[in-house]
């Protein structure tokens, strides 16, 4: 399993490496270029929320593997004041910030799983995952590779 990739987010220029690392991880895991772009776009959106609303935070990228599927997990966290109405933010975007109206619901549509937790004490954490289902041939190769490593 690969190590986590951590990208500190403190300015709009940090979005560029965050997107690039997300794309690179997705491509290493065999995602199509289109899916890699969807992941990079979702990362960009969530990272921008951190820059605009809080000022600083962190994006952590992790490769997931549950046998049949592999995935990219993106965890974006900040220690800001939290979001008052999480449901509204997820459904419609932040009502109190017209400029980010699309951010959260948009990112959610680009990913397979999306969770947002927020409180005034702990800040805001977004976890999102995009999965890729392995086909039979790939499963076979993966098993062989593992056997080779074990043997």
């Amino acid at each position: 399993m690969e190590d986590d990739v951590r990208i500190p987010i403190a300015a709009d220029t940090d979005l560029i490496p965050a997107r690039a690392e997300g794309r690179a991880l997705a491509e290493r895991l065999g995602f199509t270029r289109t899916d890699a772009t969807l992941i990079a776009t979702a990362i960009s959106e969530i990272a921008r929320n951190i820059v605009v609303h809080v000022g600083q935070g962190e994006i952590v990228l992790r490769a997931l593997d549950d046998g049949r599927r592999c995935g990219v997990l993106v965890v974006a966290s900040d220690e800001g004041p939290g979001i008052r109405d999480v449901d509204a933010a997820v459904q419609q975007g932040y009502a109190d910030s017209a400029s980010l109206g699309l951010g959260v619901p948009g990112a959610r549509r680009l990913m397979d799983e999306f969770e947002l937790e927020s409180s005034p004490e702990a800040g805001t954490t977004v976890k999102m995952v995009k999965w890729r289902v392995r086909d039979d041939l790939e499963m076979l190769r993966e098993r062989r590779r593992r056997n080779d490593v074990a043997g």
Binding site: R23, T37, A40, R48, R109
Partner: protein, 124 residues
């Protein structure tokens, strides 16, 4: 430099060469608004083929470039949106009504001629 701006007659061709930060995008908008007036520019072709990601901020910035330039009497055509980026933009449900996009530079120049009634102006 991350954006190259070339002038061809009364058309500006702005090619984004690398992924831009938010600040660079806004600087591009200001720069284009400035130059279109100063140089009597009829149309702008904005090549975004190097953009890996067009998220809501980038889409909004492109829209604000188009709208600001229109107020300066200049039409803007976007070229080179990558296929994967186009799919992401649709899935994101970005509001793209203001953006006029075509596939390549030739189409962009033809569309600009049409938008600015080039033939009429030349004929008259």
């Amino acid at each position: 430099m991350s954006v190259a701006i070339l002038r061809q007659g009364d058309v500006l061709i702005a090619s984004i060469r690398a992924d831009l930060s938010d600040g660079q995008l806004l600087a591009l908008r200001d720069d284009l608004a400035e130059r279109t007036g100063a140089d009597r520019i009829r149309g702008v072709v904005l090549d975004v083929g190097a953009l890996d990601v067009i998220d809501s901020f980038v889409a909004r910035s492109l829209r604000s470039i188009v709208e600001a330039l229109r107020l300066r009497g200049t039409e803007t055509v976007i070229v080179g949106i990558r296929p994967d980026v186009a799919i992401a933009m649709v899935q994101f449900r970005l509001n793209l009504e203001a953006l006029r996009a075509v596939l390549d530079l030739d189409e962009a120049v033809a569309l600009l001629d049409q938008l600015t009634d080039r033939e009429d102006a030349d004929g008259g």
